[in-house]
C-alpha cells in the first residue's frame, strides 16, 4: 500500500494529556503521552463483514438498542502498557492497561 493509504490504516496515535484530564479521577500535575489505536481495518474484512454490511444496509438485520454488530475488524490495542505517576499528595499511583503499546485489526 502506498504512502497515502498507509496513513489511513489502523495504527498507533499519541496525545499529550494531563493525568487529571484522563477522566479516571486522579489528581496529579504530571502529564502522560496517551497512546491509542485508530484507523481503517478495511483490508482485514472477511466475507462475513461484507455480508453483514449488506444485510445491515438493507435492514435485513435491525440491531437492538444495545446491539452493535460490527461489520469490520476493529482497530484495537494488541498490547497494553501500565503507567505510574505521583499524585498531588506525592503518593505513587499505577494505572494498569491504560496505554496502547501496539495496534492491530482484531476480530
Amino acid at each position: 500500500a502506498g504512502r497515502g493509504s498507509r496513513g489511513r490504516n489502523c495504527r498507533l496515535h499519541s496525545l499529550m494529556v494531563k493525568v487529571r484530564d484522563l477522566g479516571l479521577g486522579f489528581e496529579s500535575d504530571e502529564i502522560v503521552k496517551f497512546k491509542y489505536c485508530s484507523g481503517s481495518c478495511q483490508h482485514a474484512r472477511t466475507n462475513y463483514d461484507l455480508t453483514l454490511s449488506s444485510l445491515l444496509q438493507k435492514h435485513a438485520i435491525v440491531p437492538g438498542p444495545h446491539d452493535r454488530p460490527s461489520s469490520h475488524p476493529c482497530c484495537r490495542p494488541t498490547k497494553y502498557e501500565d503507567f505510574s505517576f505521583m499524585d498531588v499528595r506525592h503518593a505513587w499511583k499505577t494505572v494498569s492497561q491504560i496505554l496502547a503499546a501496539e495496534c492491530g485489526c482484531v476480530g
Binding site: G2, G4, S5, Q42, L50, S54
Partner: protein, 607 residues
C-alpha cells in the same frame, strides 16, 4: 476342456433319498481327441460359515451327473447351517475337469472349475400339487452359456429338472427351442439336451439368442413358460492384424513444435479379434509396437505410443466386436533448431497372441525434420514511451520470426548498451521462452531532458544451439511531465472509485495515471470494475513475465492472497477471473470484490 457355464443353480430338499439325480453338468472339448472326466472338490463352501467336508454329493466321473450319494437329513442341516438364519441357506460345490481318468481327489487350482450353488430347503420335497408349473421347468431363469470359437461341437445343456420331475410323474413336461432358421444348434427332444452342431466363428457371429419353451400338462390343464437362452461365442486370437485401406505410410514433419511429447503422426492397424483391457498388464503386452532402427539417434529421439479402441464389424448383418489399434509417432526428447534430416522410420507392430502367419506388419513414417531460422524480420523496432511512464510499465514485445509457434525452443532476448547513458528500459523473458517484453525499469531516467531518443542493440539467442539474431531497438520519449499527489498509493489496484483511480499513478502506469475499467456491474462477472495501470494488459487473465515481478503491478492477475466477496479465482489459481462490483486490492494482504454502493459506517463510538 471347458465349462459352457460358470455357475449352476438347483434346490436340495431334506430327506431326498441317496442316488437322487440333481443336475447334469456339461463340458466342451478344446480338441476332438480329448476325453472328459468330471470331479468334485472334496470340500463344500457355505457363505459366512466357510469350508466343510462334502459327505452328501457325488458326480458321475464319465457323465457329469451330480447326485446325492447320501440323504441330507435335519441333523445334517443343523450341523451344516448351525445358526444360519437365512430362510434358504446356500452351499457351493466346485466341479473340475480332467482329460485323463485318475483316482486322485486333489482339487488343483490350475484346473478350470464351475460352481454349483445349491439352495438347501429346510423341508422335505413338496407335493407335486403345491409346485407351480414354472418351478417344474427351470431351476435357473438365467440360461446364458459361452462357447469357444474354433472348437469341436458338443452338448452344452440339458433342460429337464431331474428331482422335481421325478416327483411329478403324472405331469407331462416337454421342452422346445425357438430359434431362427439355420442356427448351428441342435435340440434332442428325448433327453432335452442342446448341442452346438458345428465349430463356431466369433468373427462371423458372437451372440445367439434362442428361447427355451417348457409346456406342463396335468390332466386338461396346460401351462407353458418361456425363458431366453443366450449363447456368447468366446474369442480366440485367430485373426492377424491388417491395414484398413492398405495405408501403412504417412508423413511426419518436425518444424516449430520440437518439444518432447509432441505427436507427429498416427497410423491405424485393425484386428477382427477383441482386445480385453482387463487385466491391464496382459492387455498391454498383447499388441506391441517397436521402432525398427539401428540408428541410436532415431531410437533416442522418437517413440511409438499405442492405444486401442473397440470397434464393430458387420459381417452379413450381425454386429461383431473388433479392435482398432492406434500407433502414434511421438518426440521422445526436445530437438535442436539446427537439426535437419529426412528418413523413413519403421514401426513393427506385432500381435503377440496370434499364432498364424502375418502376425506382424510394418508401419512407415516418412520423417522430415526441418531446421528453424532464428532471425528478426525487422531490421529495427521503434517504440514511443511517455515520460510519465512508471517502473514496470510495459512498452511492447520483441519476437523473432514464428516465435509464437515454437514449442520446446527457448529464445532469450537481451538489450546491449544503448547509444546514450539513458538506462530506462529492460526486457523480461515471456512465457515458455517465446518472446521478450520491454518495460521501464528506471522511470527517473525518462524525466531527464537529455534523454530523448535511445537506441539499443538487441540479441535473440536460442539457448541450445547458441544461434543468435540481431536487431536495433529505438525508444523515443515524449509527453510533458505531470505531478502525482503524494497521498497516492503505490498500486493502482488499491483505489476503489474512478475518481481515486484517475487522480493517482502507480507502478506499471504508461502515461502517469491509473486507468479505471468500468464493469457491467451484474452479478459476478469477468467484466468487473477495477483500477489498472494499463487496461490492455491488466486484468487480462494472465500473470505475465513483468506483472509477476511485483504484486503491486497487477494483483488482479497475480494475487495469491485471500479474495473476499463474490469472486472466481483465475484458472491457474492466481488473480481474479471474475468479481462482484468493484475489485480492489491491498497487495500481498487481501483483495475485495464488493458493490460500490455499500457505504462504510464511518464511526463506531459516535453512532
Amino acid at each position: 476342456l471347458y465349462f459352457p457355464r460358470r455357475e449352476y443353480h438347483e434346490n436340495v430338499y431334506l430327506e431326498q433319498p441317496g442316488g437322487t439325480s440333481l443336475l447334469q453338468i456339461h463340458a466342451l472339448k478344446d480338441s476332438e481327441d480329448e476325453e472328459v472326466y468330471f470331479w468334485l472338490c472334496p470340500q463344500l463352501h457355505i457363505p459366512r460359515a466357510g469350508a466343510k467336508d462334502n459327505l452328501w454329493f457325488q458326480i458321475s466321473e464319465k457323465t457329469g451327473l451330480l447326485f446325492l450319494n447320501k440323504s441330507l437329513d435335519r441333523e445334517d442341516f443343523d450341523t451344516l447351517f448351525a445358526g444360519n438364519w437365512m430362510s434358504m441357506p446356500k452351499l457351493i460345490l466346485q466341479v473340475y475337469l480332467t482329460s485323463r481318468p485318475f483316482q486322485g481327489r486333489e482339487c488343483r487350482e490350475s484346473y478350470t472349475k464351475a460352481l454349483v450353488k445349491l439352495s438347501v430347503v429346510n423341508a422335505t420335497m413338496p407335493a407335486c400339487g403345491s409346485l407351480m408349473p414354472s418351478q417344474l421347468c427351470f431351476a435357473d431363469t438365467d440360461l446364458s452359456f459361452h462357447i469357444k470359437e474354433n472348437k469341436p461341437p458338443g452338448t452344452f445343456h440339458q433342460l429337464q429338472r431331474f428331482a422335481l420331475q421325478q416327483q411329478c410323474q403324472n405331469a407331462s413336461i416337454s421342452y422346445t427351442i425357438i430359434a431362427d432358421e439355420g442356427l448351428p444348434f441342435h435340440y434332442n427332444e428325448d433327453i432335452t439336451s442342446i448341442r452346438v452342431a458345428q465349430t463356431l466363428d466369433r468373427e462371423e457371429r458372437e451372440k445367439y439368442e434362442l428361447i427355451a419353451k417348457c409346456t406342463v400338462r396335468e390332466g386338461s390343464k396346460e401351462t407353458s413358460t418361456e425363458v431366453p437362452l443366450l449363447v456368447n461365442v468366446f474369442d480366440e486370437d485367430d485373426m492377424p492384424p491388417f491395414l484398413p485401406n492398405g495405408t501403412s505410410t504417412t508423413d511426419a514433419v518436425v518444424e516449430f513444435s520440437r518439444k518432447e511429447g509432441t505427436v507427429l503422426a498416427a497410423l491405424m492397424v485393425y484386428d477382427a479379434d477383441t482386445t480385453p483391457i482387463f487385466p491391464i498388464e496382459s492387455s498391454r503386452k498383447k499388441y506391441t509396437g517397436i521402432i525398427n532402427s539401428s540408428d541410436p539417434w532415431i531410437k533416442e529421439t522418437f517413440r511409438a505410443e499405442h492405444i486401442f479402441h473397440e470397434i464393430s464389424f458387420r459381417p452379413n448383418g450381425s454386429q461383431v466386436r473388433g479392435t482398432r489399434h492406434e500407433y502414434k509417432l511421438v518426440l521422445n526428447k526436445n530437438i535442436s533448431v539446427t537439426e535437419s534430416r529426412s528418413f523413413q522410420l519403421d514401426v513393427i507392430v506385432n500381435d503377440t497372441e496370434y499364432q498364424g502367419p502375418n502376425k506382424s506388419l510394418t508401419l512407415h513414417f516418412n520423417v522430415s525434420v526441418l531446421p528453424i531460422s532464428i532471425q528478426f524480420s525487422n531490421v529495427t523496432y521503434h517504440f514511443t514511451v511517455n515520460r510519465n511512464a512508471a517502473n514496470f510499465s510495459q512498452i511492447g514485445k520483441l519476437c523473432i520470426d514464428n516465435c509464437m509457434r515454437f514449442y520446446g525452443v527457448n529464445v532469450t532476448y537481451s538489450l546491449q548498451t544503448p547509444n546514450v547513458s539513458c538506462y530506462a528500459v529492460t526486457i523480461a523473458q515471456g512465457q515458455e521462452g517465446k518472446f521478450g517484453i520491454l518495460y521501464v525499469n528506471n522511470s527517473a531516467v525518462l524525466q531527464r531532458h537529455d534523454c530523448k531518443e535511445i537506441q539499443y542493440p538487441v540479441i535473440a539467442r536460442e539457448e541450445r544451439s547458441k544461434k543468435e539474431a540481431y536487431t536495433l531497438l529505438t525508444i523515443v520519449l515524449d509527453g510533458s511531465l505531470i505531478h502525482n499527489d503524494d497521498d497516492c498509493p503505490d498500486s493502482c489496484a488499491v483505489s476503489k472509485t474512478r475518481s481515486e483511480c484517475e487522480e493517482c499513478g502507480g507502478v506499471g502506469v504508461l502515461m502517469g495515471k491509473c486507468q479505471w475499467r468500468q464493469g457491467s456491474g451484474k452479478g459476478i462477472t469477468t467484466n468487473y470494475s477495477t483500477c489498472s495501470p494499463s487496461i490492455k494488459t491488466c486484468p487480462d487473465g494472465t500473470c505475465d513475465a513483468v506483472e509477476i515481478k511485483d504484486e503491486k503491478i497487477c494483483p488482479q492477475d497475480c494475487t495469491r492472497a485471500n479474495i473476499v466477496g463474490g469472486h472466481q479465482k483465475g484458472v491457474l489459481g492466481t488473480g481474479i477471473r471474475a468479481g462482484h462490483g468493484v475489485c480492489h486490492c491491498f497487495p500481498d494482504i487481501s483483495c475485495y470484490c464488493e458493490k460500490d454502493d455499500i457505504r462504510e459506517p464511518l464511526c463506531d463510538d459516535m453512532c
